[in-house]
Symmetry: C2
Subunit: 554 residues, 2 copies
């Protein structure tokens, strides 16, 4: 793969090359019709509705916009604009030519988008329906698996399949195995057989094995899809007829050293292999009611969007910057007031959407393979929703006292737990970051939660276990310098593994299984000569030559 | 690492080179005193009580023997025979010189042994106590983590540590991260800090951070260890004073083509990359009572031991034989009768031990990275405990009818679910294999369970979802041939990943997290140049040269 141009995640329906988004009353239809010549990097053609990161960025954008710009939409049909083929999955030439890191990052993003479809189904009353009107292989079937209901055209040629193992020597990388076993409850031996049969399974057998929900003959296809979409829409509790909120283009400036938005700034320190990220609290009080808040400029929504874009940009474009240092600034009371408006308006669709967007953005941070450090000093604003950044961090530092030399009269740094930290912003393990932090320590959790809405200085915060270290101003610079320098000196791979283990104490869910068990195995397989070596299956695919395997089982 | 000699797992206390096993009433003491020159392969010295596979084979043997040969033992103290050092963990030169597969297999076995210590603590009333009388680093601390109670000598120099990440660029590979977060509930940020601090943490801080349970000054050390061991022993419900059951040396013959025991035979087919394994039902009826059964010749115990040894032998010595095909033969009624004796005697310590040993052996099979196929034909005996082999398999084939050409008068092959399949033989996810198979399909589970004790022919078994395929004699040979040949043609790595995902539907536990999340990440890291490359941390350790890292985060 040639040097990648910087990837930009901002897009909008009028710029889509690969998807069409149409709505008709409560039903939206997302039609995949990939432009073969529209690869995000040169070197491959996106044949047979196969996809690359660029195609998936558009899908991601559409899924997000549907939630905000289409309050009336209650069911979303995903289908193909090509005859006979639904989607052939991730483009194999792209995968074969991509460096390891690109493959892994690509899979992570596509996973997040599919989790987002399930999130919309469960929490927004926008139920996804896969109208598989042709063969769905690999990532194509995995896209369908992320939908609540899967319809397969029954025409004796269309099938669903996971041909990655037999054809490419890798796993289906976008949650396929986990969803087959844990979501659709396909029996393990049938799942095993299915995943080794490259031509896949169609028709009645696909229904019997639970791989799809129904097989529909082509003559009845259109009406049945419409019928099913109407049924799913009718089940939804999403309030109809409210005003949409346009996700206007994010204001962003980006050069080699800095990325800036209205409320979020990042400065890129290539020598130290780190990024300093500053998140700013709102300047103003929140609107009096959620009805007046409906705009992309509403601070919580704006911050979630900016952080989301920043995480994606850094993750994809700045792989050598291994540590992200989070700072905040502003008035904690204003953040808590905004949080409060959201929490007291949770029945409102827009407030609900903003909360879930923030939740998803923070989850994206949790699965980001970068060391996260939070720095809490005077003037900072780690309160309520912004405190989640410190709770997501691998370590946090809060200044005990003030900087005596610089500003002895300053107010000492505080952190403030808010109601928002106690519920809605769950991690992918189903627990809040606070619950995960105190997993197995009920008393510690209760003691911390009891101090809700109290501005806690460093010593209190440390005693309560809410921060990691509370150095005073004599040790401050040195401790933070050592922590970041040391981090930069460690093996990036081992850090990724360490963080992926320690960030997810407690229960596992389908989502954590996808990012933990499944993705870790896939990372390993992607990295092995049997897949990625010159004679490996991924590289030899389509050459007419069979792969050469080291037969040793590991 | 030079070509490895064939590894043999059978040993006995009189042959130990690295451990001393002593008992005094209800307390056993396992003293680690590693012979520096006793490496299982040449090329490294086992300094500072560091260990390799040979050391761990002895520990495994001791843990097993304690359960059978020492019914009187209720607490097991693990301590060191060297001054100032408890255990330095896995030998680094051994790891650095080992091929990838050896490292992974070594970690799997050491994990199983530590899980076995926890299993003895929970189910046998043999509670493990780590008497950490010197520094415990890496795998040394992980050994302590597998104990119920950790005592650390408080002498200003002894500490516990996980220096793998900062020193070697890998993860602690024996459950350390999972047990720190999910067993000991060390807060995630403290755990992160701890795991980057190579010198570790000792004294009161180690207690405060929950890394150990108590720090005891050296002058009070011996008496406090004895006191604590006595307390743990007093808590145990293990019946005292019963006759021990000697685990006599397994009768085994082994050459390049075959491995044979009394009840288990394996023939190694190197051309087809598979092993054919035959397990034989007992010839005789079970003894009238469990008291008369107390011997290593008791069929269920003998079979568990033979299978256990076979799995370990094949896993370690025959890595290119990627498919194991299980067959059984004998009288199903006799197997069910033996099972029944065990189940009706569960209150008896020996019956309890046999059941748990069988459970652990089957779990070892579940985490084995080989494709497992069960072949059920006339004369086979997949009933009760032996049916677990078919339920553990990735696929099973049961002949519909009989072989018309060979033996038209034969009884058709059957399988029989027994009571034993409905409870005690849980997988590491906490569910039985039957529950895992029907995860999310309550009705399917109930329908199958209702047919308990019924000999089910192929069609019934297939309808109930208990087997995968039921070919008749016309298709039989061809189907099995294709399945095994196809399996041998796939990427061994991708198969490992596929099986590791599909075998564990449903909930995750600490044990599945260790084998899934943690081990998969470790596999990946072990395989990366940042660890294992010529300039990687593992290879450069001790050379005075710093590792050179590719800084890209993945």
């Amino acid at each position: 793969m040639p040097d990648q141009p910087r990837v930009e995640f901002r897009t909008a329906p009028e710029r889509y090359r690969h998807w069409r988004l149409a709505t008709e009353g409560p039903v939206a239809t997302l039609t995949m019709d990939v432009d073969e010549q529209g690869g995000i990097v040169p070197g491959y053609e996106l044949k047979l509705n196969s996809y690359d990161l660029g195609v998936d960025i558009e899908l991601y954008d559409a899924v997000q916009r549907l939630r905000f710009e289409h309050p009336e939409v209650r069911a979303v049909v995903i289908t193909s604009g090509k005859p006979k083929i639904f989607c052939a999955g991730a483009n194999i030439r792209m995968l074969a030519a991509s460096p390891h890191g690109w493959k892994v990052n690509f899979c992570k993003f596509t996973n997040e988008t599919r989790n987002g479809m399930e999130d919309a189904t469960v929490y927004s009353g926008q139920t996804y329906l896969a109208a598989v009107n042709g063969t769905a292989s690999g990532g194509g079937y995995e896209l369908a698996l992320a939908c609540e209901h899967i319809m397969l055209v029954d025409d004796r040629s269309s099938a669903v399949s996971l041909p990655e193992l037999p054809l490419l020597g890798v796993l289906p990388g976008t949650g396929g195995l986990t969803r087959v076993s844990d979501k659709r409850h396909v029996r393990r031996d049938l799942a095993d057989y299915f995943s080794t049969k490259s031509e896949g399974i169609g028709g009645k057998k696909a229904v019997q094995w639970r791989l799809v929900d129904e097989a529909v003959p082509r003559p009845r296809w259109d009406e049945t899809v419409a019928e099913r979409a109407a049924e799913l829409a009718a089940r939804s509790g999403r309030p109809a007829g409210d005003d949409p909120v346009a996700l206007t283009e994010l204001r962003k400036t980006r050069d080699d050293d800095a990325i800036s938005y209205d409320h979020v700034q990042a400065s890129l320190d290539r020598n130290a292999h780190k990024v300093d990220i500053l998140v700013k609290a709102p300047q103003d009080d929140p609107p009096a009611s959620i009805a007046e808040a409906r705009s992309a400029d509403f601070w919580p929504l704006a911050v979630a969007r900016e952080l989301d874009d920043l995480i994606l940009d850094l993750r994809t474009n700045e792989t050598e910057l291994g540590t992200w240092v989070f700072r905040t600034e502003g008035n904690p009371a204003k953040v808590l007031a905004y949080d409060n408006l959201l929490l007291t308006s949770r029945e409102d669709w827009f407030a609900n959407e903003v909360l879930h967007y923030l939740k998803r953005t923070l989850r994206r941070l949790d699965v980001t393979s970068r060391s996260l450090i939070a720095v809490i000093d005077p003037g900072s604003c780690f309160a309520g929703s912004l405190l989640e950044l410190a709770l997501a961090a691998d370590r946090s530092f809060q200044l005990a006292g003030v900087f005596e030399d610089q500003d002895p009269a300053a107010e000492p740094a505080t952190i403030t737990l808010g109601e928002i930290n106690l519920g809605p912003l769950t991690m992918s393990n189903g627990l809040t970051r606070l619950q995960t932090r105190f997993w197995g320590d009920e008393a510690g959790y209760e003691a911390a939660a009891k101090r809700k809405n109290e501005a806690l200085e460093a010593e209190d915060a440390a005693d309560l276990g809410l921060i990691t270290f509370a150095p005073d101003d004599i040790d401050w610079d040195e401790e933070i310098r050592i922590a970041t320098e040391e981090r930069a000196s460690f093996s990036p791979d081992a850090l990724t593994g360490l963080e992926a283990n320690y960030r997810f104490a407690g229960p596992e869910t389908m989502e954590t299984k996808i990012f933990g068990r499944l993705s870790a195995w896939q990372n390993w397989i992607f990295n092995r000569p049997n897949a990625a070596g010159p004679d490996g299956a991924l590289r030899r695919f389509g050459t007419g030559q069979r792969a050469v395997f080291d037969r040793k089982r590991v």
